[in-house]
Amino acid sequence: MSELLLRVQGLKTVLYGAGEPVRAVDGIDLEIRRGETFALVGESGSGKSMTALSIMRLLPETGRIAAGTVELEGTDLLALPEAAMRVVRGRRVAMIFQEPGTSLNPVLTVGYQIREVLQRHTPLKGAAIDARVVELIESVGIPDAGRRATAYPFQLSGGMKQRVMIAMALAAGPDLLIADEPTTALDVTIQAQILELLRDLQKKTGMSMLLITHDLGIVSQMAQRVAVMYAGHLVEVADRERFFSAPQHPYSRKLFAALPDAGKRGGELSVIKGQVPPLTADFRQCRFAERCDFAFERCFREDPGWTRTGPGPDHPQIVRCHLREEKGPAGAMDEAQAIAAAAREAATAKPLLSVRDLKVHFPIRKGVLRRTVGWVKAVDGVSLEIGAGRTHALVGESGSGKTTAGKAILQLIPATAGEVVFDGVELTKLARGELRARRGDFQIIFQDPYSSLNPRMRIADILSEGMTALGVESGAAARSKRVDELLEQVGLPRDSRERYPHEFSGGQRQRIAIARALAVRPRLIVCDEPTSALDVSVQAQILNLLKSLQRDLGLSYLFITHNIAVVEYLAHEVSVMYLGRIVEHGPARQVLESPAHPYTQALLAAVPSVADDVEKRGKRDA
């Protein structure tokens, strides 16, 4: 357990793109021991993937390693000639990637792709290789391995493809597996299976793992050691127990506080203000200082070095923070864990929206004449009600039909059957013109903040488009005034109006999308995974905004999501959707605390949560 496998020292990687060079990795030191799982945690753009690719020497063509050493049992990988490095790749260090869908060659069978590793790195020949391929496929839990070996990647599901990737990575028995967000692209139940598989395999083979993730829940389940990466370098390294019980860096603590869960229902989520600084600059101050609640004069003057805050001669907890250097280690987290008062469960009044037995079926056409031979029942009998000023969460995994249901409710795609009654009016039977007149009452916020704003339009035009189309404000002056109001409402500076979407970050774009929906004074907003493309700190900002808007304007939300934690924080009622149907519904607390349907139970059990660690810490603190 204590034998050192990989030592990275002073690693610096620079990306030479169109603009100024980006210091994606800016001086990283880390040590991974045999058999241990080392988690590298950080938000998108923090440089964690570039760190992994630098270790593998698989950087994109614009990337260069500027300095540092990567020693694998004493051999500096960065000094090896390319041919020798190829022996290391796959044999000593293997890697799996975030997107199993694109990471496999689409025109080669999965068996062939696994076989390539065996041919390259093992002395096996002929039939022995075939047998080994089947064995490997079996070992990652794919049934009917012999037949699957001849399958092409497109014939497998996302989870299966990731299993194949794992089989491929483990084929030559590597000492270290680098897993770069291995489950981010997968549904939560599949994620649980893959993580389980990785843990089992690690136990069997005794390999080490460098796990790269942004999800603290996964870290708490998988890792022994944790390093937090921010803006190109590490800010905190600690054992898992120590990290989850007493995180030291203000950034780490903020990450915990920004996680939504039921415990924080009543209050606001803690928010990290501002954004990650651009990595083109030469830092002379603490990189987190601009966003830190505790920053003082010294933080803006010098870049902090490592301070030891936790026990252990071998692997102590270390942190880059002037505050900890001067004040000593902080105690256990408290503020974030304060359980809020019981939720105000207002009595349900007459529903604003009532959906009865909604169905959306898409025809499957086959044969010479494209006759309809069957239907894809994307939504197959959904009923739900939303009261004024309430939030109804529609929870489900990808493919469950939740987004289709949301769009059908808004009449963006035609419903096959069922009723959608909004404020006493049946929407599915309305003529185009009549529907247009009511469009202002219900609006939508989309998942992807990048594709939901037209890149060719200024913010003012985006916000006033709906007003013009629906005649909400008459006259350009009134509209212009309203645009200013909206920007203020969603917390954007007034000068945003003349700018274009590309000048804004993901979170800011989502604010603009919210303002666009608010522009026509809707009463119901369908929020289609509005935060799933955002980092956790930004997610907290958006959730807070949605909550305060609901309080001030009395909005109702249909909140479509796969993220149970968000549901716990935001929703009054929950419906769980599975294969086009609602399998369970009820008040949020009831569904989440005592789920009745087996699918809901599986869904909840699969969510990796930091709660276990928090509990442990609570005991220790007591």
Binding site: M56, L58, E61, A83, R86, V87, V88, R89, G90, R91, A94, M95, F97, E99, T102, S103, L104, N105, P106, V107, L108, E116, V117, R120, H121, Y152, F154, Q155, M165, M168, A169, K366, G367, V368, L369, R370
Partner: protein, 325 residues
């Protein structure tokens, strides 16, 4: 999959009818038989009787769509539309202005055309793919850079100059091959080698550059990174992974032209005196022989549609994603 191909084949029918109607409109409505008669008779001999006589001789004295003087089925068949246009569907093209059967001309002239075009196609494809792969392999180096510069320069030269220059250097100065001519015997090689070489070379510029972009696009994909992470050598990555994926769009894109190879190359055949369909077409255009031009238009459309069908089939063969659907 078979249903898919049958459906694509059925889709060809309305397209052919569309082409047929379009050519009919162009050649018999926009350009009336009277115009044709005047053109053929020459400026001096135009009289009303002469025009009528010419029309009667050539079968243009009938109504366009519907003949109410005839009886039975002949009401429809004894019309200009039926006799001149519908018969194209059975490849009954009629006679050219010089009296020879167009169908017979086509069936004898398509082979010399193919003898030039098929090697041009195959050699060109092989050369372009090789060059493109080479440039993609050495991407970012001077070899790649100057390769692209050369490609851009080569595609900026008119095909006329390739032919003129090639004939001048190889036939006139070096006397290596005859300047033009054709033989169907075993000595055909000496007549074919220059037109084939020139045809292939003139396509390198755009072809190799286009394929290079395809390969570079493939190199940027995730599965290539996976292959490298396995420790495979760069040549293995290139030839086993990238080439295989890159060839799918390249080959399926190239398949569409295979049937049209029969049509020959207008300029090449005219310069080299090859008695193929290309030179036949050029002669017809220059003699304003509308019937021949119309026949070639229809034939070309048929071959193109066959090419589209072949493309669909080749997709199902080349790409497992389509094959298994």
């Amino acid at each position: 999959m078979i249903a898919y191909i049958v459906r694509r084949a059925l889709y060809a029918i309305p397209i052919l009818i569309g082409v047929n109607l379009l050519t009919f409109f162009l050649f018999f409505k926009l350009n009336t038989p009277d115009d044709m008669a005047r053109l053929q008779l020459g400026a001096r001999r135009i009289t009303a009787e002469a025009v009528e006589r010419w029309k009667a001789e050539h079968g243009y004295d009938k109504p366009t769509w519907y003949n109410d003087r005839a009886t039975g089925l002949a009401r429809v068949t004894s019309t200009i539309f039926f006799e001149k246009s519908v018969r194209l569907f059975v490849f009954d093209f009629g006679n050219a202005d010089d009296g020879r059967s167009i169908r017979h001309e086509i069936s004898t002239r398509m082979w010399p055309s193919l003898a030039v075009q098929l090697p041009v196609f195959l050699v060109g494809l092989a050369v372009n793919i090789t060059f493109a792969l080479l440039m993609a392999f050495f991407r970012g180096t001077y070899l790649d850079f100057w390769g692209v510069v050369l490609c851009v320069a080569m595609m900026s030269i008119s095909s006329l100059f390739y032919i003129i220059g090639g004939q001048y250097v190889f036939s006139k100065i070096w006397n290596l091959v005859p300047i033009s001519g054709y033989s169907s015997g075993p000595d055909a090689f000496k007549f074919l080698v220059l037109p084939v070489a020139i045809g292939a070379v003139s396509g390198i510029g755009s072809g190799a550059r286009w394929y290079r972009t395809i390969f570079l696009e493939e190199i940027g994909k995730d599965y290539v990174r996976t292959a490298r992470a396995k420790g495979l050598a760069e040549t293995v990555v290139m030839f086993r992974h990238v080439l295989k994926n890159g060839l799918i769009p390249i080959l399926t894109g190239a398949v569409v032209v295979i049937p049209t190879l029969f049509l020959g190359a207008l300029i090449t055949e005219s310069f080299f005196g090859i008695p193929g369909l290309g030179s036949y077409t050029i002669d017809a255009i220059q003699n304003q022989d509308f019937l021949v031009v119309r026949s070639m238009v229809f034939l070309g459309a048929v071959l193109y549609i066959v090419g589209l069908l072949l493309t669909d089939i080749s997709y199902t063969v080349a790409d497992p994603r389509v094959r298994f659907e």
